[in-house]
Each structure stands twice: as C-alpha cells, then as structure tokens.
Symmetry: C2
Subunit: 238 residues, 2 copies
C-alpha cells in the first residue's frame, strides 16, 4: 500500500567529462572505506545541506574537487528509484561517510566539462581522484553506471544546443585533428575528415593561429583557438 510520502535525503552527483588520448574520460573519486585495496570508485557527489539549493551543492562539489569556481554545469536528471541505495555496501558507506539510517536517497545528476591539462586543486574529502576513459568505467556504486550512460546522451544534446561547450574540453590552443577526434569520441563514431574540415571552416568562431605544433614527427599542424566573442556575436544575430 502506498500510504506515506517520502521524507528523504537528497544528493548531487557530477559527471565531469575530460578529453585525453583521443578519448572521453570522466572524473571518478575513490570512496573512503577501504575494501582491502580494491579500487572502489564512484562519481563525485555529496548530500545537500539544509540551506543549500541543488545547483549550489553541485558547484560546491566541483569546487572542492578541482579548485575551479563556477565550472560549466548542467543539471540533467533526478534519479530517484526507490531501490537505488539498497546495496549493503552502499548503505554501509553512507553510514560511515554521512550518517546512519539513510533509508532512501534521491540524487540530482549534473554534467560538467574540464580541460584535463588543468591542474586540479582537490580539497574534497576524496583524497584520490582519477580520470577514467568512458569505455573502461568499472562497476560503480548506487546507480552511477546508469547516470554515466545517460550523461553521454545528454552531452550530445548539450553540444547540439550549445556548440561552444566542446571547446571547454580542449586546450586553449588545439589542432583540427584534436577537435575532430573529440567529436568522434563524443558521438562514438568515425566522422569523415574532409566533411569535418568543411564544417569547421563554417565555424567563424574557430580562429587559425600563426603558431604550429613543434617537435612532432609528422607534418606540424596549425593551432586554432575558440573565439568566444565571435561566437556570442553570432549567437545573438541568429
């Protein structure tokens, strides 16, 4: 019988994407409870505080993890299956990490993007963090694997709606080959390079620099940069 209304804790969980070695990576943290040396990774997250809005909680989690304030962040879904925090290992971890008797826990999932070459200043309670290629994500606690899966669909939507966000995954200076490989990684398919060059040529906000790669064995490729002003101007003129 459905007789009572839930009275529950609420958390935020963040899927932070990075781009490295031609692959999409996500940032995982190691839980504090030691399971005999086994890696016990999860998405970075936190219960939200009494006087906190969910978006603020997500910004707090990311700031503590990276030292970066106001990262691009997109709330994408509330996960609230009644049995998402039923696994005994997860219950035990919640007992220790937060407080006992967390009988149900709903979470609001966020997407974020980070340049992996950026030095992260981690002051969170998670001492160990690591970038993990999206295809090699291990079994995660709670419904975190499902959250990761849905975040991939969501990042594509985000890019279709706001093409500029891909540049948050690239270094300040990047080659067209890097941009191409990023698109291939996000869409998980090969994209014809000649068509891709045409596509980029139409992006008036991708600006060729004088500078080229140095110390590479192949022909040095030209660097490009993203011109945010040109992008915003274009966007408001549509």
């Amino acid at each position: 019988m459905k007789t009572s209304f839930i009275h529950t804790y609420v958390s935020v969980d963040c899927v932070v994407f990075g781009f490295e070695d031609d692959k999409l990576n996500i940032l995982l943290v190691q839980r504090n409870v030691d399971r005999k040396g086994l890696k016990d990774l999860k998405l970075p997250g936190s219960l939200i505080y009494n006087e906190e809005d969910v978006d603020d909680a997500a910004h707090r989690v990311l700031f503590e993890l990276t030292g970066i304030r106001r990262m691009s962040l997109k709330q994408f879904r509330c996960f609230a299956s009644p049995d998402r925090a039923n696994d005994p290992g997860d219950v035990k971890w919640l007992d220790v990490a937060y407080q006992p008797n967390i009988n149900r826990l709903i979470t609001v999932a966020y997407l974020s993007l980070c340049k992996v070459d950026r030095k992260l200043n981690n002051i969170s309670k998670y001492k160990q963090t690591e970038w993990c290629p999206i295809d090699d994500v291990p079994q995660l606690p709670f419904d975190h694997n499902q959250i990761v899966k849905e975040s991939l669909i969501e990042i594509r939507r985000w890019i279709e709606h706001s093409p500029s966000i891909v540049f948050e995954l690239l270094p300040q200076k990047f080659t067209i080959s890097q941009l191409h490989k990023l698109y291939e990684a996000i869409y998980n398919k090969s994209i014809d390079i000649r068509n891709f060059h045409k596509k980029v040529a139409a992006m008036s906000y991708v600006i060729a620099l004088e500078e080229k790669q140095k110390d590479v064995s192949h022909r040095a490729a030209r660097y490009y940069k993203f011109d945010k002003k040109a992008y915003n101007k274009l966007k408001t003129s549509i």
Copy 2:
C-alpha cells in the same frame, strides 16, 4: 552554518501544454483551500510516495488528472531553492492538503503535452481544472511561475530534438494554418508563411488528406495528418 543535511519531502509538478484559439495554454488546478472565492490556481502535482520513483509519480498525477495513461512526459529540472515553500499561505495549504511540518520541499518539474479537444477524465483530488493561456497565467504559489517560465524554454528544446512532439498538441486532422500558428505560439514570434510551407513540404511525415474543412467562411483548407511510421522510419535512417 551549514551543519546538517536536508531531509525533505519531494514533489513532482507538471506543466501540461495544450493548444487552443491559436494560443499555448497550460493546465492549472484549483487548490482545495478556499480563499473567499478567490481563484487559487497552481500547477498539478503531488508529493511522491515512499515506494515511488519520481517519473512514476508524474505519470500518476497526469493519469489522475486526465484519465490518460503514459502521456508524453519529460522531466526537465529539479527546483530546490531553500525558500521555495516559505510563503505562509503555501505552508498552510501543505498542512491541510498533506501533513503538518513540511519544513522544506523540493520539486521535480515535468513537461507534458495534451490535445485540448480530448475529453479529460479527472479523478484527482483537484475538482476544478482549467486551461489557461500562457500569457494570462496569474500569480501561482510556490515557484510555479518560475517553473512555467522555464518550461517554455524547455518545450522549444524538446521540439528541436524531437520535432514529432508538436503533433501531440494538434487534433488528429489539422490544417497547415493550425500547425503554423502552433509554431508561432511556441516560439512567440511571427513566422513567414511561405517559408513555413516549404518547411512543411520537407516533412515527409506530414501527409495531405483528401478531406477539406467544411462550413468555413473562408476558402476551405486541406487537412493533414502526422504519419508516425514515416517519422520513425526517417529517424532511424539518419
């Protein structure tokens, strides 16, 4: 001081769009507490039950309100400002409608679409419901006005991503003029009719019928229908 984690009730709220008299309308319900005959409208919603997922709660609310099972539904945002349920009138209503001492309440907002010519079978606790043009939405309780505002941005995104959903707002048979006015209403701007005809001509899933309007003072327009099979075929071929 942020010292404790929230332990809160969670609700769902639904913005149900309909299309009537060339305008976007939303479905509002009248709260049970009588304020001396004053209309006291809100978005349809409910606290979620102990064993219920949020999506299921949203489907339950819409089914109770309309008699329609599995309406198209899109979760779009969790609203969790700490002061969203602080207004004394809202607190009083929660006391009576649910239970006392609901000190904080976060809500998960959903979008839905409904044909307004469909007979609704309302078995919800809200005895009175009404379609309200989006431009005439009165002051609503909680943060419902903000939810409505953000739902308008969200419905545009939804359509860009899934063009077929607009047809859920139209009668089974519709004229191009109706479709045109629906797009104008959603985007809140005038759209050149000749360009629009070209756009529709490119939609292979919008099928002209033999039938035309009857009993109209102007030249009878042809009816069209949405061909879901053709749409799905096209979608999978992209």
